[in-house]
Amino acid sequence: MPAGLDNLKHIVVLMMENRSFDHMLGGLMKTNPKINGLTGNESNPDTTGAIVKVQPNAQFQSQLDPDPDHHFPGVDLQLFGGAPPGPGRVANMQGFVKDYFTQTNNVNRSHNIMYYFTPDKLPVLTTLATQFAVFNGWFSSIPGPTICNRAFAHYGTSFGQVGMDIFYIKDPIPSIYERMIQAGHTAKLYYYDGPSSTMEIVNLLKNQPQIFATYDQFIADCKGGTLAEYSFIEPCYNDHPGPGGGEILASDQHPDHNVQEGERFIANTFNAIRTNPALWQSTALLIVYDEHGGIYDHVVPPACTPDGYCAQAADTGTGEAFNFDRLGVRVPAILVSPYIAKGTVVPGPEAAAGGRIFEHACIPGTATNFFLKGDAQRTVREKNSSTFLDLLTDQMRPDSDIPYFNLGGN
């Protein structure tokens, strides 16, 4: 077993909100052709038939208001360009501008959905992507919105849901937190604070309050060496007053929240682990986005193993049932550890050979494999998912080779 795995004691997952891979990391391909980003020639037609190319014009805020559609029928339009559901239909990623027009009713504004960030605008995410491991083929689990996608990260399934409805407990599939605790391990879900709370309310419904803690506790646990073996971090989901009357900005990066605040949150989380040497050497940090938020990505989502559920046509809103046999749009995903070789790019579906597909079921799947040796009850999607800890090597990188983020202000 590589030293990176031998020394691993903690897996930390930070799940951000609603940005596609190309939007956040696509600009990296210019300096590293192994990263499956943008050439600059990718395009979509708008509602007048004009061709709209991707452009490096993304701004931190105010550009994606109204919120781009990312519910099941909207994503269907984004993927299939408006071709009606039916046999033989092929995804072409040509409906993003058309779909954003349905929100904006403004042709020029609908082009914003093709904008991406230049790497210099996102120093945290792009540094981590180029210094550690970036996944070319990590997809959201469902071509749909937040709640069902986050469910895959907690349970390895959404229990047949493709929307925002809370899924009632009807199957004996425990969350990864329950599995860990039942087996004598430790697990925590850290939400930002009371006014932001959690999106994982099913565990509250199941009367599992001991699973939850706030982000302040995460920072204290990192400092004190008391971090749980498995941790999941939720960013701040809304702008709200601080306890002393200050201003707390949403850090989830959900449009139209400020992307720079999310950068600072990612950096703060990284620094909290990195500044405790014992924790840094024994932790793998996964930074991943729950879904693409309706924003353009050029990679067609691949087929996947169905998880045994079926969403009926009335629930999908497309007129066609969905068998959970296709993944959602690609999202940024980065794995951080001192045992990961600098500049690792995990090939995805673009690779002629050796490409790997990841989705959110990989998260409980990997944690279950590592901590519980695969014993706990896993979903079909987890059993068929890739795991990501094989990226940890034998070689620990020296401290001088590892970045540190200065959040001192500007």
């Binding site: 931190f60 309310i201 989901y237 605040e261 600072r264 001088s400």
Partner: protein
Amino acid sequence: MATPTNAIFVPKPAPGSYNKNRPAGKLLQAQTQHLREALLKHLEELAAVLAIDPRSLRTEGEVSAYIHRATAILHTHAARPPRK
């Protein structure tokens, strides 16, 4: 720890980024509905515990079960934000 060569400066958002009057999106609206569902569960549990007459509890086992349920509810409420 950090050296000038590996320290990366992370800028702050521009002043004026904060907007607590921004209309709440679908995700936040869904979150409030889901929290309400969770609250209803608490209400059911609270009603169930209040329906028990403590004078009817005879054994230490019965009393401890009652105390456990009552404390769990009160402990949750102890974490609530202060009233304005």
